[in-house]
Structure formats: structure tokens, C-alpha cells
């Protein structure tokens, strides 16, 4: 064996040495693994300390080591440390292998003998593997300074503004006619109860006027090519039938349009809007959208009232959808959430019993700019409720619907309770399983509600019915529930029921995820790179997530994530270029039979097929290094850098070295 390998066994204080006989291990490696190329084997108290690193560097220089195996903690902790140490001594960092005898050995086993034997096996595996390592260089890719933000809710707005203010250009794409997202629909925000619009609209205006922001509303991303630093994104700008250069946003068209339709989006179905409309007065941009499928002119060929009255001739019935292509270096997905459809729980009567409302409907109902001007009244439009029941966990924490907690419902329900109490003086009942208020000022808000005399009934509501069984129930909605704290069945008659519906991932989250090449959890929330230490990055370099797209969260948390994602993006932009781990697949052109089996296996479409030469090739910048194609190639033509067949097979043999010997000894 031509390689000269150094083995370094770490005590990690007593973390390892307490269970594994480190000295014995290192001596064993020095003797028994000599035939595999080990020329030196040492143990040391703390290998990661500067002294420990110098020990390795000294040997590299003086003994001309060509490979290094460190047996210590998990590579996820100190791989970088030891690789840099080797680099410092002139050895290619990728010729160093860190094997874990702490997390995988000393910390999980008690039998010292067995643990020591296992440590030997692990090291012999590392030695066998490292022999086949090859010197590698990290890949360097330039970063385009522009950024794409998808979704104009509060998270997207925050992210866009942070980046734009830092002097970089941002494309902000929003599906709806205006930015603002769900927050624009709310009346008050918990726990401070400040007016949602008052704090949101200034930010929306900033976005609208910002020189560094290109705002594309009524638009959707249809195609994403390229890779970190160099994405090419195609955006479909749907026809608005309004000439944006001419439109002054005066609103006359909206006023004159003779046709009304139910507004299912912004007013949550509680009110109507015109066919030419801006969803709400403070909309950004303030020029309207013409909803063609409902437009009398498009349906019957006559009307054109809007066109007649438009003072600037901005109406353009011939406008077509257009595709815009932009180059960006990074992408932030802030696509938000959908509200759980309360119809899926028939026993709660939504859609069947008039005075059962969803949370979003109620937000509009108590919103000063909403259909009732903020008067909390029943569907008849005049009667104020004398009693209101608020049902928590609707569609959340329920195996039949969504198993997760939607995080915002408790506080939202408390807010509703307060508003009802404040504006109508009605008796309010909250039906909860657990009250969760784990954030600054939240528990205090709960206290406040208790003081206001809101009734709290601990029990999941069984059903809401209008079938009166006892006196006092006629004409009421009866909430059937077990009050679990007193162990009694209760039927509570109320005038209005509010269902605190949970949050769900966007109905098209999976497709969108595929479009951008990022993964969804089973619940269709986008998966972050690390739940704690890398919460806004994804497994795809250059693509970040913020807000409810990543999971249910409230406004403060969404803003934080928007800012965090923008910080990550600006960090990347400042680097001017990214260096990528060289864990990549490469195709040996001569051995490739052109069978194309690998082509469809790659989720990142990193493998392209050359029709002319009839061979496949891997684009190193697109490849994420999962190695699936390597495993699948029937010709063995694809090799995975850093995880090659030779390396793995050698490691297997190495790991079993001891064992094989053992088999030889024991007959049978």
C-alpha cells in the first residue's frame, strides 16, 4: 500500500476515554493496520484543540502523511476543523476522514470491551475508506446580485424591503392583484391589538415606491432554471386589461362597472366586489384588475362601461398574458398558507348553519373596512349576538384532518373573544383543548381575557346543532361539549359560533416546491435545512423560505423569518461567489452506454443527455450529490465524488475486518 496514513484517536476528556480504551485502540491501529498503510497512530486528550491539530500537522510535514484518519466526534461537529488543519499542513483537506467513536460508540455503549472493539472496527473502516479518497477542490460559482421573492404577504414584504434597502435589486412576485396577504384582511393584531392595516400599509407603500423593487402582482412563477447564483426564472404576468402606464388608480372604472360578484378572496365571501376591482382601498399597486371570466363584455360582447368612463383610456381589452424572464442569484419563497376548510367537519355546521363563521370571515366582520363597517352582527345583517362560542383547534391537532398545532389559533381566538366582548358585550365562550400562549405578552393577554370574564370551557366541541332539545335552545345554535374539568356534559346555546380554523400549506405547495426543487414535509410545509440551526435555508442552495410556507406561525415570527431569509441572501450576495461541497456525481463518458436510466432519477434535473454523442452528463452545479444515479447506473459509469463505490466497499470491508478474523478463529 503506497499511502502513508496517520490515525489520531481522541479522548475527548473522558467522553470517549471513559468507555473506550483509547490507548489500546491507537496501539492496535498502529500495529494491526500497518498493512493497510498506517504509519503512525496516536491518542490525545483533545484532538480538536490547537495542540491536537498541531500534532497532526507536524506528522503530515515530518512523516509525509498522505492520508489522515481522526477518530473523535461526529463529522457534523469537527470535520471542518480537521480538514482545515490538514490544509494548513499542505494536505488536501478531502484526504482527511473523521470517524465518530463518541456519538456512535462511547456515548451509546456501556460495555467497555465491546465499545473498544467497536472503536477498532470503526477506525479500520475509516482507514480502508480514506485510502480511496482523492484530492478535491470545492466548486466556486458566481452569485447574481438580484433576488426573487415569491409571495407578497408580510414575510415576503419584510424580506423584499430588507434586501432592497441594502441596495440590491428585488423582484417581488404576487399571485393576487395586490400585496398584503392575509395580514391585510385582519382588523386587530394580537396581543397588542394594534390595527393591522395601520402597521402594514406603510410597508406596502414602501414596496410600491422602492427604486430597488420590481413589483409583479397578478403574476406567477412558471419556470425555474439554473442553480444557486444563476437562476433563470420565467414569470407569467397575467393580463390585467389595464394599461399600467396610463392608469392613475382613480377608481372610476370600479365605480361605473355595473356587475357585482361575490368576493371569495379578500372579503372571504362575506361581500361583493365589482368585476373591475382593487381588492381593498389601500391596495398596492393601486391600479385595478379586470376579472375577465366574469366580465359582461367578455361574456356577451357588450358593456365596456369601464372603458367609456376611464378618463385616461387605460382600459385595454386586448391585453394578453406575457412571460417575463429574469436572472437572479437567490430566491425566497414566502408563499404563505391556506385556511383549513371548515366544511370538512360537517358536525360543526359551517355552510349549513347560517351563523357559524370561520376565523377569516370573522376578521372581515369586525374589520372597520369590512362589509359591516366593523359591526359584529349575525348573517341577517342587523342582530347583534348576545352570546358567542369560539371553537379552538378546528382541523388542527386532529388525526382526521391535520395532526399539527396551527400555533396561531389560541391567540386568535382570545383576540376574537376580546373584540366580541368589547363591541357587543356578549357572553363569550372559548372551547379549547389546551391554551397555548408561549410568546412575549401572550400569557398576559390570556390573563386579561380571564379578567374580562370570558368563559373558558376545556373540551373539544362534539357538535354544533340547531336542534333544540331543552328550553332556551329554540332558535339558538347549541354547542354540545364535555366540560372535561368538571366532568359534565354541557349544551351551551349561543347566537354565533366562530370556528378558529387551522392553517394548511397552500393547496399547490407540492407543485410549487417541485418547481423550485425543494422538499415538502408530509403536511406539505417546506422543509428547512435544519430545524434549529438553519431554519430559513433549504436543501437546495440559493433557495430560502420564510413565513407560513415553512409552517404555521404568527405575524412576529413571519417578520423575523422574512428578515432572516433576507440576511442569508445578502450574505450570499456579498460573497460574490459560493463554494460548494465537491460531493458530486460524474459520468465516465467512455463507460456510459447512453441507457438514460439515470436521467429521470435526478430530482434536480442535473443530468443532461447529449443526443449527438449519446451519453449522459452531470451538471456539477445542479447536482446535489445524493448519489442515487451512481447507485443506479448499470454500467457503473457514474462515480460519486467523496462517496465512490471503492470508498464505501472498502469501508464495509474495513468495518468487518475484525469480525472476519473472528469467524476464522471460531469453527462453524
Amino acid at each position: 500500500m503506497s499511502e502513508r496514513i496517520g490515525v489520531y484517536v481522541c479522548h475527548c476528556g473522558t467522553n470517549i476515554a471513559g468507555v473506550v480504551n483509547v490507548a489500546e485502540v491507537s496501539q492496535w491501529a498502529g500495529e494491526k493496520l500497518a498493512e493497510s498503510g498506517v504509519v503512525v497512530s496516536r491518542d490525545y486528550k483533545f484532538m480538536c484543540s490547537s495542540l491536537g491539530q498541531e500534532l497532526i500537522q507536524k506528522d503530515i510535514k515530518e512523516m509525509g502523511l498522505t492520508r489522515v484518519v481522526v477518530a473523535a466526534c461526529s463529522p457534523h461537529l469537527h470535520e471542518a476543523t480537521f480538514r482545515n488543519a490538514c490544509k494548513g499542513a499542505g494536505l488536501n483537506p478531502y484526504l482527511c476522514e473523521l470517524v465518530s467513536i463518541r456519538e456512535q460508540d462511547s456515548w451509546v455503549h456501556t460495555d467497555k470491551v465491546a465499545a473498544t472493539e467497536k472503536a477498532k472496527a470503526i477506525i479500520s473502516g475509516g482507514v480502508a475508506r480514506v485510502t480511496y479518497h482523492e484530492p478535491l477542490e470545492p466548486l466556486h460559482v458566481p452569485i447574481h446580485p438580484d433576488t426573487l421573492v415569491v409571495g407578497g404577504g408580510i414575510a415576503g414584504i419584510q424580506a423584499a424591503l430588507e434586501i432592497a434597502d441594502a441596495g440590491f435589486h428585488v423582484y417581488l412576485v404576487e399571485r393576487e392583484p395586490s400585496i398584503g396577504g392575509h395580514m391585510a384582511q385582519f382588523d386587530k393584531t394580537f396581543p397588542t391589538l394594534d390595527c393591522s392595516a395601520c402597521i402594514l400599509t406603510p410597508k406596502m407603500v414602501q414596496v410600491g415606491n422602492h427604486p430597488n423593487i420590481t413589483l409583479l402582482t397578478w403574476s406567477e412563477v412558471t419556470k425555474v432554471d439554473g442553480y444557486v447564483g444563476n437562476f433563470e426564472v420565467t414569470i407569467k404576468k397575467r393580463a390585467r386589461f389595464i394599461n399600467e402606464d396610463l392608469c392613475t388608480g382613480c377608481g372610476i372604472c370600479q365605480e361605473k362597472c355595473p356587475k357585482k360578484v361575490i368576493d371569495d378572496v379578500f372579503e372571504a365571501g362575506l361581500d361583493t366586489r365589482k368585476v373591475v376591482y382593487t381588492p381593498f382601498p389601500q391596495a398596492v399597486p393601486n391600479y385595478p384588475v379586470l376579472d375577465a371570466p366574469n366580465c359582461t363584455f367578455f361574456l356577451k360582447g357588450t358593456c365596456k362601461a369601464c372603458e367609456k368612463f376611464c378618463p385616461t383610456g387605460a382600459i385595454d381589452f386586448n391585453q394578453k398574458d406575457e412571460d417575463i424572464t429574469v436572472q437572479v442569484g437567490n430566491i425566497i419563497l414566502a408563499t404563505g398558507f391556506d385556511l383549513f376548510d371548515a366544511r370538512r367537519i360537517p358536525q360543526y355546521g359551517y355552510g349549513r348553519l347560517a351563523n357559524v363563521y370561520t376565523s377569516l370571515e370573522f376578521e372581515r366582520l369586525c374589520n372597520a373596512s369590512g362589509p359591516t363597517g366593523g359591526n359584529i352582527v349575525l348573517r341577517d345583517g342587523k342582530t347583534a349576538p348576545k352570546s358567542v362560542g369560539i371553537v379552538h383547534c378546528v382541523g388542527s391537532r386532529d388525526q382526521n384532518y391535520n395532526p399539527y398545532c396551527s400555533a396561531i389559533c389560541c391567540m386568535q381566538s382570545l383576540k376574537f373573544a376580546h373584540l366580541v366582548h368589547e363591541r357587543t358585550g356578549a357572553e363569550v365562550y372559548n372551547f379549547y383543548i389546551d391554551i397555548r400562549t408561549p410568546s412575549k405578552g401572550y400569557e398576559e393577554f390570556y390573563q386579561r381575557l380571564l379578567e374580562e370574564g370570558t368563559h373558558f370551557v376545556r373540551g373539544k366541541v362534539a357538535e354544533v346543532t340547531d336542534a333544540a332539545r331543552q328550553s332556551g335552545e329554540d332558535g339558538k345554535l347549541i354547542i354540545q361539549v364535555e366540560d372535561t374539568l368538571i366532568g359534565k356534559q354541557r349544551r351551551i346555546p349561543v347566537d354565533m359560533v366562530i370556528l378558529s380554523a387551522g392553517l394548511e400549506a397552500r393547496h399547490d405547495a407540492k407543485e410549487v416546491g417541485k418547481l423550485f426543487g425543494i422538499a415538502c414535509s408530509a403536511d406539505s410545509w417546506y422543509i428547512e435545512r435544519h430545524p434549529k440551526l438553519d431554519p430559513v435555508a433549504t436543501m437546495t442552495e440559493g433557495i430560502f423560505i420564510a413565513g407560513c410556507a415553512q409552517g404555521p406561525k404568527d405575524i412576529p415570527a413571519s417578520v423575523v423569518q422574512g428578515a432572516a431569509a433576507s440576511a442569508r441572501v445578502m450574505g450570499k450576495i456579498q460573497q460574490k461567489e459560493v463554494s460548494l461541497e465537491p460531493v458530486r456525481a460524474t459520468v465516465d463518458q467512455d463507460r456510459c452506454s447512453g441507457c438514460r436510466i439515470c436521467n429521470n432519477l435526478c430530482p434536480f434535473s442535473a443530468i443532461l443527455f447529449h443526443e449527438d454523442t449519446m451519453v449522459s452528463e452531470v451538471n456539477p452545479a445542479l447536482c446535489q450529490g445524493c448519489g442515487t444515479c451512481v447507485a443506479a447506473c448499470p454500467a457503473g459509469a457514474i462515480s460519486g465524488t467523496g462517496f465512490s463505490d471503492e470508498q464505501i466497499l472498502a469501508q464495509i470491508e474495513g468495518l468487518l475486518l475484525l469480525n472476519v478474523k473472528h469467524l476464522e478463529l471460531v469453527p462453524g
Binding site: 367537519i345 360537517p346 358536525q347 349549513r352 346543532t465 340547531d466 336542534a467 332539545r469
Partner: protein, 288 residues
């Protein structure tokens, strides 16, 4: 249409004769061939699982195995209880090999073997899914104009949940009733329990449940309650008087099997539908 393996169940031989009669008549009218399987045994009802689960499965498996042996594809039960037991036993045995082994060991004693090839259906499913509402509508000769019928699903027809069916507010029964020209009644407790065998083991509780049901039905102006299960029918009809005594009410809501009501719409002569054997007989019906 292929013939169906017909499993009447014990009640249809005694308490629910009229269900048996009307089911056969209506099926014939709609060209559905129901072939009673040979030498079937009791399905175990709800009283059986409390004693021995395996034995309960065996009882049901025997009937399924007989139907399999006779080469049927669909196993049809008019009784919701039988249906539920058959459906889930079939499903469990298909999933659980060990369980199936136990059971098959027992079945050998009767030279039978459970394969799991049956599709278990309730009679109403067969009419709605296989015959189809349009077909039924075509065959209606006496549409039940203005007759307010309360569809009573009860429990075992829709519960426990199979796949993703709506177990809280199903609609298929309403569809069937509209198809025969009747007016389906919207009422609160169409999937609420009738008390089942509690009528025997816990009379007070059962009567209370029946009372609530009748109350809800009456509240929504019901001419007749349509049932899909002998147990429900007996509880709602036969014990109506006891409810009246118990709660000082005076309900007299006729209760009929959905097949009897279908039969009337299809112009089958009432006698042949077992009509006239009810204890409660509503004015509306008499005038029909």
C-alpha cells in the same frame, strides 16, 4: 348484472320479514338478482364481540367463505349490523394473515376456506351505485310527491369510516329518496344511534335515544322515517309507544324500510311489500 350473494341475516327471518319481502320485490323490479347463500349463520351482531373476538370473526368468515365457494363477487346484506360486521371482518382478515390462518383452521371443520375475494355491500349501495339513480327514476310509476321522508342512516351503515366517506353528513340516501319523488327531510340526527341492542341491555338509555331521534324527526315535520336496518326499525317503531309513555309524548311517526318506500314508488302492491304489518301507521300513508 351478475347475481349477488344475498345474506338476509336472522332478523329478516323473524322481526323484519317485511324488509325481506320488500327487498326481494324491489330488487326483482330493478333487475337485481339476489341469491340467498346456502345454510348461512348469524353474523354475531353487536352482542358477540364482547364475548370472543376471534369467534365473532369466525362466524362472519363462514358466511363470506360460503359465498366465495358459491362463486359470487358481491356479498350483500340488507341489515346494517350484518353489513358492518361482514365489511370489517373481510377487511381485517384480508390485511391480517395470522388472523386469517386461525379462522381458516376453524373453517376447515365445515370444509370452508376464506380467500378474501368478496366485495361486501349494503343493499342500498347496490341500488344506488350499481342500478343507479337515473335507472331507478325511470322505473318510478308512483312518485311519492309531497311525502316527507326522513332518511335514517343510523350508525353501522356509515361507521366506522371506510376510506374517506362522509360519516357525519352523508347524502346518498337523500339522493335515493329524491329519485323516487319523495321529499328528503333535513333533520339533526340522521346518523345518531338508535340505541341498538341497548333496548335490551339498557332500556332506559335506549328509550332516551329513540326519544331524541323521534323528537328531531317530528321537529322537521316527518311523514315517515326510512330505515336501512332491522334493529333501527324495531327500536324506532316497536318502542314508540314505550317512549310515549316514558316521556309523555304522543309520537305516531310511521317507520318503514327504505325498500318498502321504494316499492310503493315502483308501484308494487303494498301487501307484497309487507306493508300493513307496522305497529305505527301514519295518516299520510293511509291516504296514499
Amino acid at each position: 348484472m351478475k347475481p349477488y350473494a344475498y345474506f338476509p341475516g336472522c332478523s329478516l327471518e323473524s322481526l323484519a320479514k317485511s324488509y325481506h319481502l320488500s327487498a326481494i320485490e324491489v330488487a326483482q323490479e330493478l333487475g337485481v338478482e339476489l341469491k340467498e347463500i346456502e345454510d348461512w349463520n348469524c353474523c354475531g351482531a353487536t352482542a358477540y364481540f364482547p364475548v370472543d373476538e376471534l369467534l365473532a370473526y369466525t362466524l362472519v368468515a363462514r358466511n363470506l367463505a360460503i359465498a366465495e365457494k358459491e362463486g359470487f363477487l358481491d356479498f350483500v346484506a340488507p341489515c346494517s349490523g350484518c353489513y358492518k360486521n361482514a365489511y370489517f371482518t373481510n377487511a381485517y382478515l384480508q390485511k391480517d394473515q395470522d388472523l386469517a390462518e386461525h379462522i381458516n383452521y376453524a373453517l376447515e371443520a365445515d370444509n370452508l376456506h376464506f380467500e378474501g375475494t368478496m366485495r361486501v355491500r349494503h343493499l342500498i349501495e347496490v341500488f344506488i351505485d350499481d342500478v343507479g339513480l337515473d335507472e331507478i327514476e325511470k322505473k318510478v310509476s308512483h312518485p311519492l310527491k309531497g311525502l316527507r321522508v326522513a332518511p335514517y342512516y343510523g350508525c353501522q351503515l356509515v361507521r366506522p369510516r371506510k376510506d374517506d366517506e362522509d360519516v357525519e353528513n352523508p347524502q346518498f340516501f337523500e339522493g335515493l329518496l329524491s329519485a323516487i319523488g319523495a321529499e328528503p327531510v333535513e333533520y339533526a340526527s340522521k346518523t345518531r344511534c338508535c340505541g341498538g341492542s341497548l333496548i335490551i341491555t339498557n332500556r332506559k338509555a335506549a328509550l332516551d335515544m329513540v326519544h331524541k331521534l323521534l323528537k328531531d324527526a317530528a321537529y322537521s315535520h316527518t311523514d315517515v322515517i326510512a330505515t336501512t336496518c332491522p334493529m333501527c326499525n324495531v327500536n324506532l317503531e316497536v318502542y314508540q309507544n314505550q317512549v310515549n309513555q316514558e316521556f309523555g309524548t304522543n309520537f305516531s311517526i310511521p317507520v318503514m324500510y327504505f325498500t318498502q318506500i321504494m316499492g310503493m314508488a315502483l308501484g308494487i302492491q303494498p301487501g307484497r311489500l309487507g306493508i300493513g304489518k307496522e305497529l305505527v301507521y301514519g295518516a299520510t300513508l293511509r291516504n296514499m
